[in-house]
Amino acid sequence: MAGVDVEALQRWLRGFAASVAEQKDALTALDAAVGDADHGANMHRGMTAVLDSLGTPAADPAALLKQTGMVLIRSVGGASGPLYGTLFLRMAGATGGEGALEPETFAKALRAGVEGVVARGKAELGDKTMIDALAPALDALDASLGAGEPLPAALRAASTAADAGRDATTPMTARKGRASYLGERSAGHQDPGATSAALLVAAAATALGDQGTG
């Protein structure tokens, strides 16, 4: 097994960019219900900039992840820019100079990234944010890998968990982000950030799993 190398990560980012482009209006519609109707535009602007930046060669996974984080922070704005940016920056920080990340290293890096998001945004599980998709995905990833499953299967499990976590945001009352201003009126709407986060995990399962390091 080749591990997660720069090319695999690029496939991930391209895949995520493609789903965001496809789901742009749906993400914005979710944000219109509980926020300010820009999450699709924000993520699309960010991932378009990331796609552009893929032209610049990256020495190793850490360099690519760092560059991606910086590009997101520089191009998105809003809440999602610093949060997704931090995710990738912290992932970069959690890898050494390896040319390809072992599945465990990838999982550890992802956990570091999500912990970075929590440190910045102070959201807890159940606050109706992207954390509600990301945290269950991490747990499923670790459990699968711990049970000896290969990365592709583990990422599929993570994606399933992320989707379930995303769906679970619907009945929640938001306690972080713009949706929290609505109080109980936020219940009954799926969180836009959890939705884009589930796309991120799904893109990993596709890019690093099936046709990737499988």
Binding site: D38, A41, R175, K176, Y181
Partner: protein
């Protein structure tokens, strides 16, 4: 969607282009989307930086100038600007006395300004302080939310602190003053109609012809509750009561009353609302000594209004009255 624009993706850039051409007293960095007062940095003066998503005009760029802000970072419509913008602006308005960030309390703005301060600390020796503006009483239980939104309080904060900055006061002094004005201010808003965000192309929420939203934000976020449309008199009550219940405004120097239009509300109606609001303040023994009525913090083409009340002390009255020369507020010069 009916708007005066070319491609909606270029709206902010093209609007900044027009702003720049129209107003020589401003200087625009189009690459970074930063608006400066033409003579920034002012040596010896603390630089005042604010900013946020576009779509609130004249906020934020309309409050740049002598006696108010030194620079503003413009984000996409309703999207906070990014840390690079704020770090760059911070560097360019430091006249040697440091820079005060006046941050409207939204997750995006707070996170991006935080990162900007980290960048500035890492890359320059500019002293930076940040004060968060959070005056919107529509957000109840603010401990269990992203906290109260920053809305109308930005105007008294930026005006009063801007005047104090011109007097050469120190960064920590100004930060204290900003916190004091913010702490003395409460706001509440309502919408008759939704706004239409250009990137979405349709109204953010559907509001039936016979309903209004109470406790609205300035980004088309739905309010806390929806009620049947009612008289200006009743609407004034729904805005003023929560403001007065949240803070004691009876006080020796009186209050500043700011009745804000959200974009599509005729001034004719705003003045009518001022009359209703003034009656309610009378009844509560709260004395308006300064007033501001007009569209200053808008939400694109939303119809509706907000009320902001600031408890003034003698110092604040003096600083409010001090000269200011911006597109949005101008007097004494």
């Amino acid at each position: 969607m009916k708007k005066l624009l070319n491609d909606q993706a270029d709206l902010v850039a093209e609007s900044l282009r027009g702003l720049d051409r129209a107003h020589p007293q401003l200087r625009v960095d189009h690459e970074q989307r930063i608006i400066y007062r033409a003579d920034a940095p002012v040596p010896g003066k603390v630089g005042l930086l604010s900013g946020g998503g576009s779509g609130h005009e004249p906020a934020h760029g309309g409050f740049i100038g002598p006696g108010m802000l030194d620079a503003v970072c413009a984000g996409e419509v309703f999207t906070s600007p990014v840390p690079d913008q704020m770090a760059e602006a911070t560097k360019n308005i430091d006249g040697g006395a440091g820079v005060l960030h006046l941050v409207w309390n939204y997750t995006g703005d707070v996170l991006n300004f935080d990162m900007a301060a980290e960048l500035a600390a890492a890359e320059t020796d500019t002293q930076v302080e940040a004060v968060v503006i959070n005056d919107d009483v529509a957000v109840e239980d603010s401990l269990f939310t992203a906290g109260r939104r920053g809305t109308g309080a930005a105007i008294p904060v930026e005006k009063i602190v801007g005047a104090a900055a011109e007097q050469g006061r120190s960064l920590s002094d100004l930060a204290d003053l900003a916190r004091r004005v913010n702490g003395a201010t409460r706001s509440m808003g309502m919408a008759l109609t939704s706004c239409t965000v250009p990137a979405k192309g349709s109204p953010t929420f559907d509001l039936p012809d016979d309903e209004i939203e109470i406790g609205i934000g300035i980004h088309g976020e739905p309010g806390r509750r929806r009620v049947p449309i009612t008289s200006a008199h009743e609407i004034a009550r729904m805005l003023v009561e929560p403001v007065l219940n949240d803070l004691d405004f009876t006080g020796a120097e009186g209050v500043l009353v700011f009745v804000n239009g959200l974009g599509a509300t005729p001034l004719l109606e705003l003045h009518l609302m001022y009359g209703e609001i003034a009656d309610l303040l009378d009844q509560a023994g709260v004395v308006p000594v300064r007033t501001l009525v007009g569209p200053y913090v808008t939400s694109l083409d939303m119809a509706g209004c907000s009320v902001t009340v600031t408890r003034l002390d003698e110092e604040m009255v003096g600083l409010w009255d001090a000269p200011v020369a911006t597109l949005g507020l101008r007097w004494g010069m």
